[in-house]
């Protein structure tokens, strides 16, 4: 009897798009358990390494509060600042914009909060895998696929393999590119393997959930934008 590949071999095979890795997962009696373990293990690994890297970046970076006050102290010595300070309304506006800019910057730079990623990364991978897997299953079935929901979920779990590229972020300032593209490629292989679909049908079944997600995302972004505009409008209006 052929030995079952370990987690590392499975992830490597999935990353290298090896048909037998996907077929083995599809036909495994304990596929859902294996898929769940795979997603959680990869998520934890990526979460821990990413958090380490972000923490390292934070450690060697200057404190943002100090940066903010240093820049402000210099700006306040500039001639235009003196002119502006005569107008209380302009001064108020400047303070608001300055605070807003730094609040956004502080949210983007690394902080000890990066440790939360150890929990949120596996959790988000699980949610994305589950939602995508179900949507891909539905679209594959509509297009004539033969696989079960369990088989689709098991195979699409292998598409977390490219997330391992993110391990490079254990080094501060390192960035992983190509993860989403390679995930798409792995998902295509997974849907093709789980449902026995070929060519264009497999492509459409793979891409359809993403198109749906983008459309929903755009809708939410528009709603969020309108909401933010209203809130900012009220805040600025209130300040006046």
């Amino acid at each position: 009897m052929e030995a079952r590949p370990n987690l590392f071999q499975t992830v490597l095979g999935a990353f290298l798009l090896q048909e037998d890795t996907y077929a083995r997962m599809r036909d495994d009696a304990q596929r859902m358990k294996r898929a769940l373990v795979l997603v959680v293990a990869v998520g934890l690994l990526v979460g821990v390494t990413g958090a380490c890297g972000r923490l390292g970046e934070w450690a060697v970076s200057p404190p943002m509060d100090k940066l903010q006050s240093t820049v402000l102290s210099h700006l306040s010595q500039m001639p235009w600042f003196t002119d502006m300070s005569r107008n209380p309304q302009a001064m108020q506006m400047f303070k608001q914009q300055y605070e807003l800019g730094w609040t956004i910057a502080k949210a983007l730079v690394p902080s000890p909060w990066a440790l939360v990623g150890i929990l949120t990364t596996p959790l988000s991978l699980l949610i994305i895998w589950f939602v995508y897997g179900l949507l891909a299953h539905l679209s594959a079935r509509v297009l004539g696929g033969k696989g079960s929901a369990g088989q689709t979920l098991a195979c699409t779990a292998l598409a977390v393999a490219p997330q391992l590229l993110n391990i490079v972020t254990v080094l501060p300032f390192a960035q992983a590119a190509g993860v989403s593209t390679w995930t798409l490629v792995c998902n295509f292989t997974a849907v093709r393997s789980a449902h026995g679909l070929r060519g264009w049908r497999a492509l459409v079944a793979t891409v359809l959930p993403l198109v749906l997600a983008i459309l929903i995302g755009v809708l939410f972004a528009c709603l969020g934008g309108a909401l933010a505009e209203t809130i900012i409008g009220r805040t600025v209006g209130g300040a006046r």
């Binding site: 970076s61 590229l165 490079v168 080094l171 501060p172 390192a174 190509g178």
Partner: protein
């Protein structure tokens, strides 16, 4: 092993049919292609990384940087006809000095973990950027290959996804020339001769880039069983479409600006 690698690289560079066929017939073609890409990207980035690593230990002499910037700005103020207004020049100098004062104070701020040496950030940045390079190549190559494959399929190509990725990954082989280019970059600091090395470096970059495209076209032709013409078309189509899209967006943006400006008047 080394002899095999050299023979393989020579086969790819000379667009040898047998080399491409043997590569595609291998079960590990994609793995080999990915390893090749990572190795070439790391090699190309090695010299800039070592140079960055060496300079990360030197503390930044802000006074020297300021003097050099001042010298360049003074010559611009002297010779640029648009900057001859004395009032503009005085304001410019004032703000330049204020900007440098900000930079000086920001550079002096200690990191969050204050006992860490200031060179550590520069060293980590150099190392992180070096190791990110292969992934940046991988992302760009995979993304582009998917579009090429899409167009190839529309034109009757016979490649599977794995074979297409494995074949097109060979485009990195000519980029070994970039290693030579990065070596020349080190010499570009030498007076007069440095300019020649810089020019040579650019030339090497262009040759590696063009050769890479030729290898890409050959790989696309072999894996899809296409003629050279059709393979060239599907290789260039995604880039052409992106250029066309960018041009259309630019035209729309310019039209929008012109219309809004005329509306405001």
């Amino acid at each position: 092993m080394m002899r095999e690698l050299v023979a393989f690289a020579r086969g790819v560079l000379t667009l040898n049919d047998a080399t491409f066929a043997a590569h595609l017939a291998s079960r590990d073609a994609l793995k080999r292609g990915l390893l090749l890409m990572v190795s070439v990207a790391l090699l190309v980035g090695l010299i800039p990384f070592l140079s960055g690593m060496a300079s990360s230990f030197r503390s930044v002499d802000m006074a020297a940087v300021e003097r050099e910037a001042e010298r360049q700005i003074e010559s611009s103020l002297q010779f640029n006809p648009a900057w001859q207004n004395p009032e503009f020049q005085s304001t410019f100098r004032q703000y330049f000095q204020m900007g440098f004062a900000i930079a000086r104070d920001v550079m002096a701020i200690k990191p969050n973990v204050s006992f860490l040496p200031p060179w550590l950030e520069r060293l980590m940045r150099a190392f992180g950027e070096w190791l990110s390079q292969p992934l940046a190549w991988l992302g760009a190559w995979a993304g582009y290959a998917l579009w090429v494959m899409l167009f190839a399929k529309l034109l009757g190509g016979r490649a599977t996804l794995e074979r297409m990725l494995a074949a097109t990954s060979l485009f990195v082989v000519p980029h070994l020339l970039d290693v030579l280019g990065s070596l020349l970059t080190l010499l570009s600091g030498i007076q007069v001769a440095g300019a020649c090395f810089g020019l040579l470096n650019t030339l090497i970059g262009v040759v590696a880039w063009a050769w890479g495209i030729v290898v890409y076209v050959k790989a696309t032709a072999v894996v899809n069983e296409f003629s050279w013409g059709r393979a060239t078309l599907v290789t260039l189509l995604p880039a052409l479409l992106v250029a066309l899209l960018a041009m259309l967006l630019a035209i729309v943006a310019v039209m929008g600006i012109v219309l809004s400006a005329s509306g405001a008047q």
